[in-house]
Amino acid sequence: MVKTVIADDNQSKSAEDRLFQHGIPAQVGLVIGQLNRSSDRGFVYDLIPTPPTDGGGPACSLKSEAAGKDDKKKGSKSGKPSAELPASLVVDNDWVAEHARQVSRMLLGGMNVVGIYLWASEATFKATSPAVLSQAIKGVAQAAPFADNEFEERLLIHVSCSPRRWSCRVCTLASGGLQPCDFKMGKLLASLQAFRCTYNFEIRLPIPQSGILGIITFKDLICRGIANLAKDLQSAKALINGHLVTENVHTSSESPHDVQFLVPFNKHISTEACSSEEVVGLVVFSGAICAFAYMGPREPILQAISDLKSDIVSSLRSRLDIITDEAEEEVALSLDGGGVSGGDSLAEKSIHKLALREVRT
């Protein structure tokens, strides 16, 4: 349950100044910060505006309540609020969600897309139905999920231009309800503790001949491997600067802290549900991941360790997504350009859809 939200004062100030100077009537963007269940404080590190859509329009615009008028797509004229009724906000939910998805891939451990912010006048904000806002927040939450799937809260920050002030609400995803919460500024980024580690892994996945319903794709297999790795990591022991972490002690040494993970001996060889079936091949998935996590001041250390583990896993998942996305694009391009049908040829099938059993002949 988030009760207090603290935003980094420097970043907030520069964000606010930026917004003011641009003079746009409304803007939506992402809030980058840290929320977790082991603390009742939330942290806000930065605000990132959502760029214009592919079509050139803004992600968020004003809609006049006056009957019958079309949506003003280009709300960039200096705000002329409608005469009788204040305009309300319209948010391009899908676009903001896509923005959240891409940004969250780039974030390190301990930092997440924790909600959205809106830049608008008090009147406009009040005129906007809370349902509109919570829809947008839900979209963002779905596109950029936390490692802790059960954490149900996100933030909605309203930066008001007149009067110039900030307010924050906590949105409960299940109900869509918005509750106000304490909001203050403080020195955050300067006092963040950084944790870093390198994680070496080697996962071997035997592919059985039978017993698989349908075709396994390469991507599915690697996903499974990553899921196993995540399970192993969850129970792994951690050493911070050489000392075993058993409980929430505060480290005395300087940031960045070096973390090492210890897993049960010989565990890297996967013993997937492969009994004595015939094996057609082996996938070896190995390498090293460098991971980081950041922890706010006076927060529990076990949370930082957990964030570091999540960073390793999400890093692997993001890489897999990026590679398979690119592979799809490549194939799409080549099909467009070449115009050769005969899609049975191995080279023309996108890698991630490659049925494993076809490789073996």
């Binding site: 390198t198 001996f265 060889i269 094996v279 070896v284 190995s286 890489r319």
Partner: protein, 649 residues
């Protein structure tokens, strides 16, 4: 006291254990050169295998070494031998010394050290001790002082502690379908690889104190493989004392992990063994690897192959002194112990890889009169009563000098480690607070000229309302059963806790004798049900005697007295609405006069011995008392349950 010249031999095991087998042959003498004073004999193992078969003084060293390596805890070693037979003492002692020296080499590859050569003949109980300081027979000298220690347990456990490491290894093996002859080699090399990896510098060992007290979490540490000695020095027999200054985890002594206030003795170990727990981990964040971008690569199989999972379950127990550093304990005891156990199991598994694999599982035991635990590896495939398993246990009993008619090395008797308090049974929690053997204080039976036959051994007195459980009016047979089971426990035939009423009822439901609604009810049980439960929970068989009338019970006195003389187990008498426990009979065959020693489970008071005896809750009851009253009802059927002593291992 033992001087530097070591001319005093201290024997901790009971003298009769050294003399237990009067067959010609050798007995290996076991001690702990690293941790106990020199020439201290902790136990002895009989030499079972000879080569050739008919020469008992020519041991089959390889086979003996294989078996003893699995059995003996690291931290103990062979320090000599006892020659049982006739002949010139010096010559025989020298043979013993030579044999034990060779045995040490086969066992752990140890070099020479001071050894004991002892001699005893086949008739007398005299043992003559000699010690030898080198391989030269001239150096052997007779020992003038031999001390048979009165308090052997304190000797072993005053500064001793146990270390335990469990490790599960799953080796996936891909077996080409048509080239199955290669399997043995493939598996063998995989196992060797895993064994070698245990000494890898990037393996980490997590050392934790025992689980019993959980308020001291900070005692856990991690030791990295690179901090340990890479090659254990076999000839080093000096104690490594921990340095006083805090120079890091490497120099911590075992005492750091050990609860100081607990007094270890054999009985506390049997109840709930306290060992320093060690887990083997891999450091996945080591810095030496070249950073490698994660890559997934697919290797198609060139020929049809089968995936065979070969699983190893290792469980190694070691003995060390509290002063020993944990780093030294790891590199000299735990890691070699793991490697040895891995190789032993490998040898057993490889011949049967492609058929049904053995499920080998190590267990640790501390049988009575043995001062140190031992390890046995059992194949769980076919159950404990399987012939080969029975043979193996008989062989172990023989080697350790244990009686051949008591099941002391059954899995039920295995040591349990670090049991948290949540899993308590009555006996562990309340154990010593129950009254035992209350019959010893009762007045005489009043039968003149009779022969008294009593139960043999100890029992605990279970009665109504015990442990706050209200079974008044219905639970008497249950209480009698609890008393009987406590007898089996105390005589080391079983180590399961004495079951509660509910557990007894559940056992009957599980075997199909009662409906599920029976559990939690207040229904009575009788002799038949008791025999079922004893069979199910303890593997014990029973005899049942029926009489049609209470008047006929005195006729069964002869049979009962024979029972007490041969089996000596408590008997349950059930008839009408009552059940009693019978502990003995006093029978005058000529006059027919008799009395029954009854332990009455209907007692509802507190465990006050005087009250129990004075109230007659345990006492001799004549069939017809001085006032002419019948103790047993003449219009009721009576059943007598006579549990039998198991005569097997």
């Amino acid at each position: 006291m033992e001087g530097e010249t070591g001319r005093c031999v201290r024997v901790l095991c009971p003298k009769k254990s050294l003399l237990s087998s009067k067959n010609p042959g050798l007995r290996w003498l076991i001690g702990s050169p690293l941790f106990l004073p020199p020439f201290t004999v902790v136990s002895s193992f009989r030499c079972l295998h000879a080569l050739p078969d008919d020469d008992p003084y020519s041991p089959d060293f390889a086979k003996e070494a294989d078996e003893i390596r699995m059995l003996l805890l690291r931290g103990f070693n062979i320090i000599g031998a006892l020659f049982v037979g006739d002949g010139n003492w010096e010559k025989c002692a020298w043979k013993a010394v030579e044999a034990s020296s060779k045995m040490r080499k086969f066992l752990f590859g140890d070099g020479d050290c001071d050894l004991i050569g002892a001699v005893t003949d086949l008739i007398t109980d005299d043992i003559h001790f000699f010690v030898s300081h080198s391989t030269n027979v001239e150096s052997m000298e007779a020992v003038s002082t031999v001390v048979f220690e009165d308090n052997p347990e304190t000797y072993v456990w005053e500064k001793g502690c146990l270390l335990r490491c469990e490790l599960e290894l799953k080796l996936p093996v891909f077996v080409p379908l048509d080239k199955t002859s290669d399997v043995a080699e493939i598996v063998s090399s995989l196992v060797d690889e895993a064994a070698a990896k245990l000494r890898d510098p990037y393996v980490a060992y997590l050392v934790e104190g025992s689980n019993v007290d959980t308020d001291e979490l900070s005692r856990s540490i991690v030791l990295h493989g690179m901090e340990l000695d890479s090659k254990p020095d076999h000839s080093d027999s000096m104690l490594l004392k921990a340095s006083m200054k805090e120079s890091g985890a490497k120099d911590l002594a075992c005492s750091h992990f050990h609860l100081k206030d607990k007094n270890i003795s054999s009985s506390t170990i049997r109840e709930n063994a306290d060992a320093i727990q060690i887990a083997v981990l891999s450091n996945q964040s080591r810095n030496n690897c070249k950073s490698a971008v994660p890559v997934a690569e697919y290797f198609p199989a060139t020929e049809y192959a089968r995936n065979l999972n070969v699983n190893f379950k290792l469980d190694v127990l070691c003995y060390a002194s509290e002063d020993f550093t944990i780093a030294a304990a790891l590199s000299k005891l735990v890691i070699p112990g793991l490697i040895d156990q891995l190789n032993s199991i490998k040898k057993a598994v490889i011949p049967e890889l492609l058929s049904q694999q053995p499920q080998l599982c190590p267990y640790h035991f501390l049988p009575p009169e043995l001062l140190h635990p031992v390890t046995a590896i059992y194949d769980l495939r076919y159950g404990e009563t399987e012939m080969k398993q029975g043979e193996m246990r008989r062989s172990l009993h023989s080697r350790l000098g244990l009686p051949l008619d008591r099941p002391l090395l059954r899995i039920a008797n295995a040591l349990s480690f670090g049991m948290k308090n949540t899993k308590d049974t009555h006996s562990v929690k309340y154990g010593s607070s129950l009254l035992k053997n209350v019959h010893t204080e009762v007045p005489t039976s009043g039968v003149s000229g009779g022969i008294i036959s009593l139960i043999d051994g100890s029992y605990e007195y279970y009665h109504y309302l015990l442990y706050g459980f209200d079974d008044n009016g219905w639970g008497c047979a249950y209480r009698s059963l609890q008393t009987i089971i406590s007898w089996y426990r105390l005589q080391q035939y079983a180590s399961i806790g004495v079951p509660s009423h509910r557990e007894i009822q559940q056992a009957l439901v599980d075997m199909g004798d009662k409906e599920p609604s029976f559990v939690g009810s207040r229904e009575w049980i009788g002799a038949i049900e008791l025999s079922y439960v004893l069979d199910k929970l303890l593997g014990v068989s029973c005899k049942i005697i029926n009489v049609r009338s209470g008047e006929e019970l005195p006729e069964k006195c002869r049979e009962l007295s024979i029972h007490f003389q041969t089996q000596g187990t408590p008997v349950m008498i059930g008839g009408g609405v009552l059940a009693y426990t019978l502990l003995g009979v006093d029978y005058n065959q000529a006059s027919g006069d008799c009395a029954f020693l009854i332990l009455d489970p209907h007692y509802t008071g507190n465990d006050d011995l005087k009250k129990i005896v004075n109230g007659g809750w345990c006492g001799w009851k004549k069939a017809i008392d001085s006032k002419g009253r019948n103790f047993f009802l003449k219009d009721k059927f009576y059943n007598l349950l006579l549990p039998q002593r198991p005569n097997m291992v």
